[in-house]
């Protein structure tokens, strides 16, 4: 596990922006309708099951994120999936969910071999300490998952 936003040094933010223009399709899921106080692990499961059916196996995904967020409003997250991204074997999409935000679904990112690398980087708002779950759907329809708890603290008391 790494917190290093530059996990794949070849992929800079600029590349990502370009890549987004050239094939990554990200869907922001949260909409403008009345929100419950927070989702829970069951809501996460339910939402993920609507995105991809089946039980994911833990593995293949790395969630690069701080253990403790410096600012819960903009938490840098890097998701990378261990995949050659060739026509034979690639990541079709990655779904990201969080169990402590009002709605569990955060984003669905669609990829293709044209991306070259299965890595996405984005900022995420976390209302409180919670677990972020990512599920990758491969072209062979296998599902892989990873989860990481990210702490959002009031801070202070600095040693």
């Amino acid at each position: 596990m790494s917190n290093d936003p530059r996990v794949l040094p070849a992929m800079t933010r600029r590349d990502l922006v370009l890549a987004a223009g050239g094939g990554v399709l990200a869907t922001l899921v949260a909409g403008l309708f009345p929100l419950p106080a927070s989702a829970d692990p069951n809501d996460v499961k339910k939402w993920l099951s609507t995105v991809a059916s089946g039980t994911p196996t833990p593995g293949k995904i790395t969630i690069g994120a701080p253990d403790i967020a410096e600012n819960g409003n903009v938490v840098p997250i890097t998701l990378s999936v261990d995949s050659p991204m060739t026509e034979q074997s690639y990541v079709k999409s990655i779904a990201i969910a969080a169990d402590g935000n009002p709605l569990p679904g955060v984003a669905i990112v669609d990829l293709s071999p044209a991306n070259g690398k299965a890595e996405v980087q984005f900022r995420m708002r976390l209302a409180k300490t919670q677990t972020v779950t990512a599920v990758a759907l491969m072209n062979d329809n296998s599902l892989w998952s990873a989860a990481k708890t990210i702490k959002v603290t009031i801070g202070g008391c600095g040693g």
């Binding site: 290093d4 530059r6 300490t129 600095g158 040693g159």
Partner: protein
């Protein structure tokens, strides 16, 4: 066998016997501990690492009582540094009442302090450093784990420039940082510009592009070896301290980048890789098990004085205490880029035994001269020992909380669980310098606000998790927030949200009502724009009014679920 209680009685009797002639006891200490004893070391190998950290700007000798409560959780329970008092004596076979017992533990602190005198003083450290460099020419590296520029009246007035002068004069070879960042971006850049040695912070990036903001690694040639030093600043600086002071920089543990730096150093021919760290001991213990190729971690942040090196796999962890009390010496023998042997000593800097270095003594006097009248201003006197360090309220924190309650007309006081701040013995004067040594920060506003019982509990749970989360990577801060006007129970073994109970308002003995609002005063908020008078002014006016302070230890916090080796009955 002598029980602890018996020993206390014996110690008390001994104090009575020598009480009338305390100066004789001191004289005896001076003769039994000599500078030559402190320097005695059977040199080994090609390289000597000298290390200190968390000096918190203290140029002068002082008393600093090591914690009586320092509870280890999860995998760290019962391991150093989570041993206190008699548990340290037993684990490291230190004789009760000995100079080492006084330096490394809180056992019988108040009586032993009178026998052995103060520790530290940068002029004494300079003497030891010069002597060791003379003994090991071309083989010595002097490394500072940070928290160097903050913590005293002079450092606050000089905004760290005093410490930069002193550390340049001492000939430090590299430093990393934490509190040093609390002077803000511009001042940090200025001070780094004045340093005559590298400021290594390999885990700090600029917030916009994620580029590494400082040098991470420096390679030194010593004793025929290439020694790589990687700097690791406190990973949670913008959380534990105000992010608004350093908006350009983002921090983190960045395990993978530590590994990359170590690999790069090896690839460029390093024979020895040293991580100069401000992670805190438990974080470094975890990190050491997860990265490879780091031979030595010189730890900092958690202020631990561990008399032996702690080995994690092939990595040696060194914890050199704080406040200038100690200088660590680690001699290393390296063969084919592996450490094959080492010898370590955590040298207590007994200020009465070590001759001050004249040049450093003169520099310290010059730094202090413009402020001398203020530093020496007597605000009052204390009839009881005032200390801070420990997981929960120390008596100096109780004094600060009393001042907040009285001066800010509040029902509840909150005071940050900083690990820095020296100790005053019973009967000593409280000078302005002593007050600033507990409060000298760049965001000192003493706020006053209402909080509901529920919000108060949530805040305390949050802070408790930053200290007692069983995964050290989730431990963010200092010790537990100190409270005044409030008592509570804590089960440190429980998960977040379930540790705190029995919160009681002392004023009326009633349980804290989650829906009721309480007037709370506190200080050191990390929020920008916090309003209120500076904490040093608040406590000063309180002490000046009280004249004589008397704070026996209070039982505000009932602790359960704790490993017993982290709790000691101390003097």
């Amino acid at each position: 066998m002598l029980s602890r209680r018996d020993f206390l009685q014996v110690a008390a009797a001994a104090t009575v016997l020598t009480g009338a002639s305390g100066s004789f006891a001191r004289a005896a200490a001076r003769q039994t501990i000599t500078q030559r004893d402190l320097l005695r070391f059977d040199a080994l190998g090609q390289v000597t690492l000298l290390h200190f950290g968390d000096i918190h700007a203290h140029l002068m000798p002082l008393d600093y009582r090591e914690p009586s409560i320092n509870i280890g959780v999860g995998p760290d329970a019962g391991l150093p540094p989570h041993l206190t008092g008699e548990h340290v004596l037993r684990a490291f076979k230190i004789a009760p009442g000995s100079p080492e017992a006084y330096a490394f533990t809180c056992a019988d602190f108040s009586s032993l302090a009178r026998s052995y005198g103060r520790l530290g003083g940068l002029d004494r450290i300079a003497t030891l450093v010069k002597a060791i460099r003379a003994e090991r020419p071309g083989k010595t590296l002097l490394l500072d784990s940070g928290d160097t520029w903050q913590g005293t009246y002079t450092s606050l007035q000089e905004r760290g420039a005093d410490m930069v002068r002193a550390m340049n004069a001492l000939g430090v070879d590299a430093m990393t940082a934490h509190w040093d960042f609390t002077y803000g971006t511009d001042r940090v850049k200025e001070l780094v510009g004045k340093l005559e040695f590298p400021f290594l912070c390999g885990n700090v990036q600029d917030t916009t592009w994620g580029n590494w903001a400082f040098d991470g690694t420096k390679i030194f040639e010593r004793g025929g070896l290439r020694v790589a030093v990687i700097g690791q600043a406190f990973p949670y600086t913008p959380i534990a301290n105000p992010a608004w002071l350093i908006p350009e920089w983002t921090f983190g543990i960045h395990e993978r980048h530590v590994q990359d730096q170590a690999d790069k150093a090896r690839a460029s021919g390093a024979d020895l890789v040293v991580l100069l760290s401000h992670d805190g001991f438990d974080v470094d213990r975890k990190l050491a098990a997860r990265v490879t190729g780091v031979d030595v971690i010189l730890t900092g942040h958690t202020h631990d004085a561990i008399p032996q090196a702690v080995a994690v796999g092939k990595t040696l962890l060194i914890a050199s205490g704080s406040h200038g009390k100690f200088l660590s010496r680690l001699d290393l023998e390296v063969r084919e880029r592996h450490v094959v042997d080492y010898r370590f000593r955590l040298i207590p800097v007994f200020s009465d035994a070590v001759e001050p270095d004249p040049a450093m003594q003169a520099l310290i006097a010059e730094i202090r001269r413009p402020y001398q009248a203020e530093l020496d201003r007597v605000l009052g006197r204390t009839d009881t020992m005032l200390y801070r360090r420990g997981n929960f309220n120390g008596t100096f924190d109780d004094l600060i909380c009393d001042a907040l309650l009285a001066e800010r007309d509040a029902e509840i006081a909150l005071s940050p669980g900083f690990r820095w701040g020296p100790t005053l013995l019973a009967g000593q004067e409280i000078r302005l310098e002593d007050l600033y040594a507990q409060t000298a920060i760049t965001y000192p506003a003493a706020y006053r606000q209402t909080m509901t019982g529920a919000a108060l509990k949530a805040a305390m749970e949050d802070i408790a998790d930053n200290l007692f989360n069983p995964d050290p990577y989730y431990q963010q801060g200092g010790d537990m927030v100190r409270v005044g006007g409030l008592s509570y129970a804590i089960d440190v073994s429980k998960p977040m949200g379930q540790r705190i109970s029995e919160m009681t308002l002392l004023r009326n003995g009633q349980p804290i009502d989650p829906s009721k609002s309480y007037m709370v005063a506190g200080w050191a908020s990390v929020k920008q724009g916090t309003q209120g008078p500076p904490i040093f002014d608040v406590v000063r006016s309180y002490v000046e009014r009280q004249k004589i302070v008397k704070i026996p230890p209070r039982q505000l916090v009932r602790v359960t679920g704790a490993d017993p080796r982290g709790i000691a009955a101390c003097g």
